[in-house]
Subunit: 469 residues, 2 copies
């Protein structure tokens, strides 16, 4: 199901261009890591980047904590600038702040500019969760420099999954982990494949009124009907201000994939204040979007006209956009869809599907075989759909300790999150009013009480871990 | 320090030839595993062997336990026949019994007869602890066949290390582990490098009287003095019934290495009943050995004559041996010194050293650089001395749970064992009268009370884990 695979690609909710803002300061450093931690075949190495700020550290304290962000699918500076909670807490607890860049992202390329050379698929062999966690384990060992220091892992989204798994596998290296909006259960056999779509639908259903999701649910047929003729295709392009005209079925599918992607993104970044994810957005963008779809539209033309207006909330909130580039939704993002696309084709196999009868999405099924074939064609990779379950245990988290799983119920990814604590050493924090890892962001006057409370709880738990150390 | 490296090679204390006895029955099966679990470079696979016995299983119980032996450095049948406690407990708790063969040992060769081809050092690339644990995780997943079953890991010596690490890294797959005589702390920076030698010395000091270790401590100089002349070399060969004459310094070193190896072996298998390790041995063989050295010998000739008699306890207890093959101490063993030698050259870097002033060993130092050079020459491998510490945490075991670490205080390997529980979910059982993983062996009328008690405790803890499941 390609459309929602795209949705998966966009699981991050950070603003591009935020790097330029430089709210937070750091030195940019490099650290050499083995290309392959697990075999004795090669001694090759390369450098990953990390960001470093020791300005909060109490130099008189020989056991200063380290706050370590387990970088995920994008440029690490982008994460640093968009995880304000870590900086705020570091200032309070006088911690060294480190953001480590994930191998194969940002400027941490094992084979430089040749890393993604499609004629060298062997370059992708070391692009795994396990190699990445080893990079981080080595980096922390280096940073500790032989001292016993309490290290806390932080991460949001896929970075939160890494933080949780890092604590599970390297509890001797990190005393605990804050895993914000980390869908570690979004894997085959663990979670129904339509959960993302169902939550998104429910967000659209309740943001303004239920007509919003009903209109969207009906829109697919309307789009297809309109696009059945050449004149209709042209009309569709004009209505939605598309940069490229819809010429054929492939274009039409891309356009509909794009719409589904936008819906998922809107739900993820349904933040209570203006933010700039892929495009600048108003506060509570889903509500704004749904305002245009508040009435049940009786005919296709009116329905699509309303949808086009709604889409403007996402594509042209500032009025500066000339047209909708539905063929390249990630343009300009710091988030790296190429890298993530590869990861979904090796270990991060997350099934998606939907039924139009109970979601606003098109009906689609999860087809591993087809998915695998696409992966092989694109990257010469054969997905291992059970790798993550085998290594990290799926729902069997009994032995885990000192992990905070926080999930916002407005976040479509919360369906794959840990919502029930397996024991009293694992903390589950639910943010009824939270979108995708809102708690990890800098505090804001418009934050709902549940988010402010969550941050307080998280801070208290982390402080306790450090005290217990 | 090659001599004690040899000692390390002989860390197992099972009887060769025991396979022929077939005390315990099983089917021999094969299971296909990926050659490299951690990269997406190749899809190659090979088969590991495992032994399977479901005769104890209560077929009416849908949650029958699985007892899973994490095979170590040798033919898996040998371990199965020499770990009687597992069979006894399986009969009592009605468990399925599985002994899995470690890759690169026995008949589980990734490249068949070509596995150890020295002109193909790349064949050794996948000979690691992590790959092995993944083999076991996959095998258990296959055996469970989708059912929720309580699996307990068992292992002795290096197999005990694997069992403990398996529980630490895959707690969702095994509910607990019995790690018998598992020196997981015998790594650089964790344990003094002379601990093995000090414990062995103390065993020899107290087995009969203190003159035993004193005589051995003095013997090195006596041997070297005697071997200084050609006539003396001949005399040495005659005295000790050596198969090959001592012709030069290299031979002399090999002979002294051999003696040190024998001392370590004797301490390890200092069992309370006759056993057959490398050679048949009487009950409490160190005491028998030391009987010949009970008087402080005033001159070199008498000293060496007594030592030669003592050595006969190890080399010729049955009287069937023609000569002492000091150049090939492992001949006929099921234990695979070649494989273990390779592992010490990649991850299992265990430093050994001694000082003649406080042990009965020759003075020697641990020299990683020299050791690494030898490894490179022999196998094209560069040891990673901190790999194990990085992955498994060394003494930092706070987050571990459901592991029993049992150690006999007569066992030289107990110095690298876990002797203090890091928390109340990890159990430490000390056997004051126990040699190397005596508790894992079949019960015997001559077992000392501490061993019988230990087995009772272990059984109770394991039963509790299964009940809690």
């Amino acid at each position: 199901m390609f459309a929602v695979l795209c949705g998966a690609l966009l699981m991050l909710a950070f603003e591009p261009g935020a790097i330029a803002e430089q709210k937070f300061q750091y030195a940019i450093k490099e650290f050499s890591v083995p290309l392959d931690h697990f075999s004795f075949l090669s001694n090759e190495s390369f450098s990953i980047r990390y960001l470093y700020n020791d300005s909060y550290v109490d130099k008189a304290n020989s056991q200063s904590p380290i706050f370590f962000y387990t970088g995920n699918e994008g440029d690490i500076e982008w994460f640093a600038q968009n995880s304000g909670f870590i900086w705020e807490l570091a200032a309070k607890l006088r911690a060294l702040v480190v953001f480590a860049e994930h191998r194969y992202y940002g400027k941490s390329m094992p084979f430089g500019g040749d890393t993604f050379n499609t004629s060298k698929p062997e370059h992708l062999a070391y692009f795994t969760v396990e190699q990445t966690l080893e990079d981080y384990a080595l980096l922390i060992t280096f940073l500790r420099n032989g001292q016993q220091l309490p290290v806390v892992a932080f991460g949001g989204s896929y970075g939160g999954m890494l933080a949780a798994w890092f604590r599970m596998k390297y509890p001797h290296i990190v005393i605990g982990a804050l895993a914000a909006s980390a869908p570690i259960l979004q894997f085959p056999g663990l979670t129904p494949c339509d959960i993302f779509e169902k939550i998104t639908t429910s967000v659209f259903e309740t943001a303004y009124n239920a007509n919003c999701s009903a209109n969207i649910g009906k829109s697919w047929k309307a789009i297809e009907s309109l696009a059945a003729t050449d004149a209709g295709k042209k009309q569709l392009g004009d209505m939605f201000h598309l940069c490229d005209p819809v010429k054929n079925g492939d274009d039409l599918n891309k356009f509909m994939d794009y719409l589904e992607e936008v819906y998922g993104n809107l739900a993820m970044v349904n933040y209570p204040y203006n933010s700039t994810f892929l495009a600048p957005l108003p506060a509570y963008p889903v509500r704004q979007f749904c305002y245009y779809l508040k009435d049940l539209q009786p005919n296709d033309t009116d329905l699509l006209a309303s949808l086009a207006s709604a889409l403007g909330v996402y594509t042209n909130y500032t009025g500066a956009s000339k047209c909708v580039d539905y063929k390249d939704s990630n343009s300009g993002a710091n988030y790296d869809s190429r890298g993530w696309d590869i990861q979904t084709c090796n270990q991060m196999v997350m099934p998606f599907c939907a039924n139009n009868s109970d979601t606003m999405y098109r009906t689609s099924t999860w087809d591993l075989k087809k998915f695998s074939e696409k992966c092989y064609t694109k990257f010469h990779l054969t997905p291992k759909p059970h790798d993550i379950l085998l290594r990290y245990g799926g729902r069997n988290l009994e032995a885990a300790s000192n992990i905070i799983f926080s999930n916002g119920l407005l976040d479509p990814w919360s369906g794959g999150g840990v919502l029930r604590a397996p024991n009293n050493q694992v903390h589950v924090i639910i943010l009824p009013e939270g979108a995708h890892h809102l708690d990890l962001r800098q505090s804001h006057p418009s934050d709902p009480a549940s988010v402010t409370d969550a941050r307080k709880k998280e801070a208290a738990i982390i402080e306790q871990w450090i005290r217990d150390f």
